[in-house]
């Protein structure tokens, strides 16, 4: 639902009538340059799929084109000029996305611009900002997040990967997992334990890690359905120079919080800027899939099938309307920023519920079919209905109840104990 490009709206709505002269000039420049240089947005084309190396390569080119054409790359418009951006205000960004609607944008840079860039801006040294931000905007560096570990995905502050200081560099050992695009990334934002003798949040440090080094081995994970764009990394004496510590040593959790908040804010906004259409103007559109499916299954006239389809239409529309309302409300202050957590939870619930409805609709047709047909996909959707991105459902429920509703936290048992006195899980190998 969030991960494929939508078709450009037939009738485009822009805010052109509000433009100042300067804005108008920017808009025309963007319009002309995009028309000449960007590939069209193709409905159904994946927004990001790191398995598709051609698409990744295409996005590298698009990012470079946007940068070279003076448009700041993808999301570089509000970035200060000294770091390669345009230093303009948000209004110009809105114009950019209005004009970009018919084109593919370099969505594989989502991690880099939605998560890494805010972390660099908030916690980076001047040297780091000048070195890394322009390379994101120019398309040189794709970034990965080296965050979760096989010993425990939800408990992010419980990372076991060790960072030891040796002279003026750090040596990292351990394993990271659920890294989107680890195998194609140039750099990684990596949280590691620099001091295991203090309580778990206090002994962490964040590192900017060069992914192209011998100690870093990256293995794509095979998921239930086949491939995936997730990877598991094994860090075996990975070297990070002192100058690539982001934020203070042992203060990595502060950076991680920026990282997590940026990810959530990105989700609330619709994750990849400009992936969705403009919010306020949207009408409910019923997916044509349902009519086609009902036809194919021969159940168009069945009262019970029509119930299931009606319910699915409600699910889709409610998800769509809720996330658009959340985005608007978070932007104008009518809703708290935590509303993004609610949207994220709804996204998970919606996919669980929709797969159940489709499975009930298809019955046996959804579990076995002609080779190459899409029957068994409907059944398999029930198997893979839960999501890895955005945390487990349990973590989302905790977040919504504690942060959004303000309910009391569980009495914590591990927050004040030195990390090396806690029990830790084993570190399974997930990649086959």
């Amino acid at each position: 639902m969030e991960n494929t490009a939508e078709a450009p709206t037939g009738e485009r709505r822009t805010s052109e009538h509000l433009d100042t002269d300067e804005q108008r000039a920017f808009r025309l420049k963007a319009r002309e340059y995009m028309a000449a240089n960007l590939p069209p947005r193709i409905p159904g084309q994946p927004a990001n799929s790191f398995e598709d190396l051609e698409l990744v390569a295409l996005d590298r080119q698009i990012q470079k084109k946007l940068y070279d054409g003076g448009l700041g790359g993808y999301v570089g418009i509000t970035v200060p000029e000294e770091y390669g951006g345009l230093g303009l205000d948000r209004r110009f960004e809105d114009i950019f996305f209005e004009e970009a609607e018919p084109y593919r944008l370099p969505w594989h840079y989502g991690n880099a611009v939605v998560i890494v860039l805010p972390c660099l801006l908030a916690h980076g040294t001047e040297e780091q900002k000048k070195k890394y931000i322009p390379r994101i905007l120019s398309g040189e560096h794709l970034w990965a997040q080296l965050l979760s570990e096989p010993s425990g995905g939800s408990d992010l502050a419980g990372v076991l990967t060790r960072a030891e200081k040796r002279g003026d560099e750090w040596v990292l050992n351990g394993s990271k997992v659920w890294t989107s695009g680890g195998h194609v990334s140039d750099m990684g934002l990596c949280l590691a334990r620099s001091d295991p003798t203090v309580r778990k949040h206090a002994g962490l440090t964040m590192f900017l890690v060069d992914m192209h080094q011998p100690g870093m081995s990256v293995h794509p994970i095979r998921l239930v359905r086949g491939g995936s764009d997730f990877c598991q990394e094994f860090l075996d004496d990975v070297i990070v120079p002192d100058c690539d510590v982001l934020g203070d040593v042992n203060d990595g959790w502060t950076v991680a919080r920026t990282q997590l908040n940026s990810e959530r804010a990105g989700m609330a906004r619709g994750w990849h800027y400009g992936l969705r259409r403009a919010e306020a103007s949207a009408h409910i559109e019923i997916s044509r899939r349902y009519a086609r499916l009902a036809e194919e299954l021969g159940v168009s006239g069945d009262a019970d099938a029509r119930q299931l389809i009606g319910e699915a239409i409600v699910l889709d529309a409610v998800y769509d309307l809720t996330s658009k309302r959340a985005a608007t409300g978070a932007r104008n202050g009518a809703l708290p920023p935590t509303i993004g957590m609610v949207t994220s939870l709804l996204s998970a619930r919606t996919s669980i519920d929709r797969t159940a409805l489709m499975s009930a609709l298809a019955g046996p047709v959804g579990v076995a079919g002609s080779p190459g047909g899409d029957g068994p996909d409907i059944g398999m959707d029930r198997v893979v209905t839960h999501r890895i991105g955005g945390g487990t459902l349990e973590m989302q429920l905790n977040l919504v109840s504690e942060r959004h509703l303000g309910l009391p936290r569980e009495p914590g048992s591990d927050r004040d104990v030195p990390f090396n006195q806690l029990r830790h899980n084993a570190t399974p190998k997930l990649a086959g």
């Binding site: 019923i286 349902y290 239409i313 409600v314 905790n398």
Partner: protein, 375 residues
Amino acid sequence: MDVELNEDQTMLQEMTRRFLEDRSPIAALRRLVDGGEGFDREVWRQAAELGWVALFVPEENGGIAESAQGVADAAIVAEELGRVVFSGPFLSTCVVAFAIAQSGSEAQRAEWLPGLAAGETLASWCFAGPGTKAGVRAGSVSASRRGDGHVLDGIAAYAEYAEAADLLLVTAQGVQGLSQFVLPAGTAGITVEPMDAMDLGRSLARVRFEGVVAGPEALLGDAGKADEAFERQLQAALVLHCAETVGVTDRAFEFTLEWVNERHAFGRPIGSYQALKHRLADHVMQLEGAKAAAAHAARAVQAGAPDAAIAVSVAKSQCGRSATEIIRDCLQMHGGIGLTWEHDIHFYLRRAVSNEMLWGSPAVHHERLSRLAGI
């Protein structure tokens, strides 16, 4: 509900809330029920002075409808009514006023609208049949031509405040299509039979039409051509109904949150237990869904958007189902006290279950959505 209210709308919301807290809190409903009364006419008259019905009535007929925000503004009022489980003929009177203002002749508008706007004339909307699928289609009353008028026969069920109404808007099926009639309550051949309703704050009745003669002055719009007008009324009614349901849910959820923060079990607030927290998280998620769907429906119907018919059915399904499910579990979280007459929550749950099923159950709207999807 809507995250993009303008200043006037915010004022309307605050004013309505203050008025209701003062004149019609939930304790007032309890008094009305214990006293065996339906609703408080004095409160209704005062409410009308605040312009609740006037939102649908043009200025020349005593209203304030020039704001062009009729439905969306009335939805704001309806949401507040839900928060106190208000008992009164808001929905039926508004829809009838809307119908007359939209489709009425000049004479009809002049005759009826001022009284409706002022809260002096009460109206009931009669269209739904008596069965399990009732609520979105008219046709259980038939209209046959006689002379320059019509004769009406049949039964309309679930008519709100028909017992108290001065005026009935009847939608009837004729050979050429739907026709609508505006009839004084006392018209010969009309019998109003009160229904036993689980929602103690909503008067419902079966209205029986036996050879009722409706002259040309009673006909609203053109004979046999009311299908579109009826759909517009239905959409407006559903917007108000959904907004009310959101208010009901929102308020019950609100006081349940207070309760789980305050009530202790085994030395901790019960709201610190993960099982309750997770259920509450799912509830707020569904409630946000209901708010988004109801707000969108209000905007779509207000604007006459192409997805208005879809939007109201989406909202009706989402608001109805989530209200019952959320408040049912809120009652559960109150423990035994939630089951006592002395606690307010049953009034909320009664309205939620009732609203889920009236004006088209979720099943009815799912079927309608399949149809709108071209299936």
